[in-house]
Subunit: 648 residues, 2 copies
Amino acid sequence: MGKSEYTINFKVEGGDPVSVTGLSNETALDIAKRAGVVIDAPCGGNGTCGKCRIKLVSGEVSGGKTPHITDVDTAEGWRLACGIKPASDIELFLPASAQAFQSRIRVTDFSGAREAAAFGSFRAALKELGFDGDHGLEKVNVELTAPSLEDALADRERVEAELAGKTGASRVKFSLNALRRLPLSLRSGAADSFGVTCVTRREGDDGGITVLDVLPASKDCPLYGLAIDIGTTTISMLLVNLETGDPVTAASGGNAQIRYGADVINRIIESTKPGGLERLRNAVINECLAPLIRRLCLGAGIGTEQIYRAAIAGNTTMTHLVMGVPGEFIRLEPYIPAFFKTDALGAGSLGLPLNPEAQVLLAPSVGSYVGGDITAGVFSSMIYDKDTMSLFIDLGTNGELVFGGKEFLMSCACSAGPAFEGGEISCGMRATNGAVEACSIDKDTMEPKLSVIGEAGEKPAGLCGSGLIDIIGELFQCGIINAKGKFNVAGKRIVKDEYGGQAYIVAFAADSASGKDIVLSEVDIDNFIRAKGAIFSAIRTMLAIVDMPQEAIDDVYVAGGIGSGIDIKHAILIGMFPNLPLEKFHYIGNTSLSGAYGMLVSERAAGQVAACAGAMTYLELSSHPSYMDEFVAACFLPHTDASLFAAQ
Amino acid sequence: MGKSEYTINFKVEGGDPVSVTGLSNETALDIAKRAGVVIDAPCGGNGTCGKCRIKLVSGEVSGGKTPHITDVDTAEGWRLACGIKPASDIELFLPASAQAFQSRIRVTDFSGAREAAAFGSFRAALKELGFDGDHGLEKVNVELTAPSLEDALADRERVEAELAGKTGASRVKFSLNALRRLPLSLRSGAADSFGVTCVTRREGDDGGITVLDVLPASKDCPLYGLAIDIGTTTISMLLVNLETGDPVTAASGGNAQIRYGADVINRIIESTKPGGLERLRNAVINECLAPLIRRLCLGAGIGTEQIYRAAIAGNTTMTHLVMGVPGEFIRLEPYIPAFFKTDALGAGSLGLPLNPEAQVLLAPSVGSYVGGDITAGVFSSMIYDKDTMSLFIDLGTNGELVFGGKEFLMSCACSAGPAFEGGEISCGMRATNGAVEACSIDKDTMEPKLSVIGEAGEKPAGLCGSGLIDIIGELFQCGIINAKGKFNVAGKRIVKDEYGGQAYIVAFAADSASGKDIVLSEVDIDNFIRAKGAIFSAIRTMLAIVDMPQEAIDDVYVAGGIGSGIDIKHAILIGMFPNLPLEKFHYIGNTSLSGAYGMLVSERAAGQVAACAGAMTYLELSSHPSYMDEFVAACFLPHTDASLFAAQ
C-alpha cells in the first residue's frame, strides 16, 4: 500500500491549534511529535500505558482497537494517539490531560517546609566541613593609568600586568568573551578613570587565572551560579549568589523528553533513530533548560550572562542525552555508558544560555543505572562520612538505593517502573494539580477522605504515587483487600472492572474532575505491589550480600521529588520500606539538586562527589541470583514472610 | 521629506539578478550591501574612489553628480552606486568590474617559482632550528579488553586508563567532541576488537593531555592543520599535513569586508555602526574563511573536522574583526588596540568549520598598525636572528617596515595608501586579470610594451601596483616626465586630461578591454609619488633614529602579495626603495602566511613569533618630528636629494 498525505488539525485544549500534513502510515502520536505538539506518552508510543488519549473530532482513521479505550469511550471519539493513523483529513482534540507534563508539576525546590529544613541542615554541614566558597571565581577591580601616545600598551596587556601584580597569578589568560567586552568596559566610566572589574577563575593548581568577563568598574554585579537537577520526569534548578552562597530563586518544569517515553529505556531507543539524539538533546536543552534559565534570570532581574558556573546532576542516561553523547550501549548487555565522569564543559559548547565562558560540572556516574543524581545525593546525605550504617533511597522515575557508610558504599538500581508516578495505573497521574496525594479510609463505611493537590476544593482527577501508597495501605489495613491485593469484601464502592476483576471507587463521577469514576483496580494494585516489591527486595538483597539483618540499618534517608509526599507508616505497612522505628527515617528532599548545589559552591565538594562515586560499588541486581526470589517474596502485602513486618 | 519605498532590481553581470526594496534616503550602495549584492567600494562609499560604477538601466534617481563620471558616461547611464538614491523603482546593471574583488585575485600561495623557492628555504631553516613537528598533537592507538558484566567500566574510563599507561600522561581529559564519538568509534571495528585511535593534544607543561577526537582504530586519517593569512584585501590559506609538515594545497580569495571599504580605517568605522562589528566578522568568517576552508578540504578529499590546529596572521584590525573584538580605539588617538596577543582560541567559539576542538593561534601584534602579519613576517624572514642589519618591507594594502637584527628591531607603518593596489589612480585596479603588471617604454617612440595578467592576448583593463612602478619608472627614465612627475614632452600618447593636466595613454581605446583609453595622468602620478614617498621617508626616519647611513642596511627583504610583481630596479629608480646593490634585495613572498605556517607546525616557533613581537619597538611615524620633512623631500622622482640615487 502506498502512502497518502492528509491534513491533520490538532485542537489543543488551552493552546493554539496546529495544522500539519500527515501520512497514512504515521500514527497520530508520531505526527504530533513531528509538529512539536506535545502528547504525554510515558510508554513511548507502544500502546501499553494508555495515557495518550485524544478525541477524533472528524475524519477517518485506521487502527484504534485497544483495551485502554472502552466501547463507550470509542463511541465518544476517544482514541489512543499511538494507535491510529489517518485515512482522510482529520481533526483531533487534545485534552489538557494529554499534555500533563507541561502543566505545573510540584517538585522539591526547597520552598516546602520539610525541604527547606533538609536544605538548611545540609548548608550548615557544608560550612562546617569547609566546603564553602571555594568555587575559584573572583571579582578583581583594577584601576589603570590611561594609555597615551607615549604609553600605547594594548588594553589586554595593560590589564594583564595590573591583574598579575594584584592577584599574584602566575599566568593570566583572557577568554574571547572578556576580550570582546574589554575595550568598551574600560572606557565606560568617568572621563578621568580607566578601570574595570575582572571576573576571574582559578585554573589548575599552578596559580594561573583566566579572565572570564570584564565589567565596567562602577557596576555592582554579583557572581551567580546555577545548580541543576535533570530528572527523567522533572527538571529543577536553583539560582545561587556565589558570593554569599545563598539561593536566590528556584524553578522547575517537566522534562520535555517525556514525549519520547516516560523511562530512560524508551528515551535511549528514540535516541538511536535518525536524528534522535539531537531531538532528545534539543528537547532538554532548548525546550526545558534554556527557557527555565531565562525565566529564572528574568525573575531575579539579572542577565543570563551573569551566571559564571553551573553544576548538573542527573542519571546516567540524562547526562548522556544533555551532552549529546550516544547512550545506546547503556541498555544493551553488558550495559556500558560512554563515560562515568566528565571534565568541566563550556556553557557555549553545551548550548546553555549562561555566560559563554561559564564552566559546567556534571556529577559523575557509577554505573549505567546509578548516575550523578545518586552520587550527588550520597554526598548530600553525608552517609559516606558516617561510622553507622545508612540506607539511602532515591525514589524518582526509578528507584536507586545506596547502603553503607565510611567503610563501604554499595549501590543498585531497581526497575520500580513508573507506578510511583502514576504510570501503569488506570487512573494514575503525576503529582500535579488534581492528583490525590494522601488518603485515609474509614474502616466501617469504607468511605475515603482525600487530600488533593491544588487550590482548596480542587476536584480529584487521578492518583499519584503517595496517594497510591496511602490508599493501598488503608485498604489493606481496613481488611478491604488481602495480602495478594484482592478485594475481600463487598460494598457500594467495590465494583467489577472491565477485566473481570474488582475495583475500589476512590471518587465517584459526580465528585471527580473528569466526570468519571476514579477507580483503583486489582490490576492497578498488582502493578503497584510489583513496584514496591522491587524496592524492598533490592534492600533485602543488599543486606544479604553483606550478611546483615535489617536492624543493622541505623538510618534510612529518603530522597527524591516523589518521596516528599510519602507517608512512611503506610509505606512500611505495605512492605515497601523495612519495618524499622519511624525515627530512623529521614526525608532529605531533592538530594540530586542539593548535591549539585554543593558542587556549585565548592570545588572541594565537587571533588568529594567524585570521591563518593569512586567509593561506590555497583551491584547489578538482575545478575544477582537471589534477587528474583526476593522479589517474588516481596510481591505480597506486606510480604510472604509476615514476621518481617510484625509489630515491634 | 518622508521616505518612499521602491523596488530595486540589480542585474549582476555573470550572476543572478536580485530584487529588493529600497528607500528614497538610501544610496544604491547601501541597498546593495543590505541585499548581499557585492559592489567594490574601496573608499567605503564616500565618493572619493570612483570604483563603484554601475549603470542605471531604468527609473529615476536623485544625486549622481561626481567628477568620477564624465558627461559622456552619464549619458550612457553610468553612475556611482554611492552617489545615487532611488526616486522611483529602478533597475541597475552591475558590470563585473564593480565586483572586482570577487574575481580571481592573484595572490602569493607558494605556487609561483619565486614564492616556492622562498618557502622552501624557510622550511629548511625551520628544520635546522628544530622548529619542526612540536605542535603537541599526536595519534595514539589503544587496544582494549572488551567490557563485560564483570568488568563494566565506562568507555571513557577504560580508554583513559590505557592511554595514561601508554603515554605516561599525568592527566587525561576528554573533549565533548571525543565523548560524543567514543562509543560508536570503539564498536565500529571487527566483532572481536575493542579499540580506537585517539587524537591527543599536550596541554601545559605538566604532562597532561586532552583527547580531541576518537577515530575508529582501523581508519588511517592524517592530522591536518591550516595556516591562514588574513589580509585587508586578500585571504590566503595553506592546508598542511601535520604529520609530515608538507603543505597539501592552498587557496585564496578576496576579503569580502572590502565592500565596507578598502582600508582598515573604513572597516573600523563600519564596525562601530549598529551591528557593524558582527557584519564585518560575518563577512570574513562566513563569506571568506568558511567557504575557502570547505573548498580546500573538498579538493584535498578530507573532512573539515580533520583539521585539528590552525594559525592565523593578520594585521591588528583584521585580528580584531575576525574575533569580533571592538577595534574602534585603534583609529582614535592614542591608537590603542584591545589586545596584542591572544590565548589559543577554540575553533568552535570563533565559528570556523574545523574540528570543533581545534585550537586557533593568532600571531601577536606590536601596535595598532604593526600586526600579527608583520610579527609572523619577521619570524619568517629570520632577521631577528641575524648579526647583520636587515630591512623588512611588507607591501600590502598598507606598508609596514621593520629594521634591525639580533640587537634591536624597530617597526613602523606608513600610510602608503591604496595606490599600490590601484586605489586613487584613475585607471588603477588590483592585480587581477587584465591588469598591466609590467611595462617598458621605447625612449624614441614613447611606445609602451605591456605585460598583462591573464590568458595570452588578454587586453589591458587597467594598471596595478607593479605596472604603475614600471610605467612611472620608464616615463621618468625616458625623460617623458620630470622629477615632479609632470610631462616634459609632446607626442601622440600625451594628451590633456579633464583636470587640465596632461596624461600618458598606456593603451588606446581600440586595444583596451573597456574600449576606452587607459591613461596615467599627472594627478595619478602625483598620488603614486606620495605612496612611494611614504615608504622611502619611513626608511629614512628609521635610519635617522638609530643614526645609521642607508649603506648600513645589509639586506632588504621584500614581502607581501603586492611585492611579488615589483621590479626592484624600477622601484629604486623612482626613489621608492633605497639605492643599494640589487643583490641586497630578496623577495621572500607572503611571509604572513609562511610565518603562520611556522606557528602551525611548531609550538616553539609560535613562541618565537611572540618573542619577536616582544623584541620589536613600535615607532609612531606621525608623531615623529622629522618624518613630515622626510616625506616632503621624498615626493620627487627619485628624491629632492638626487645624490641619494646617484649611480654607484
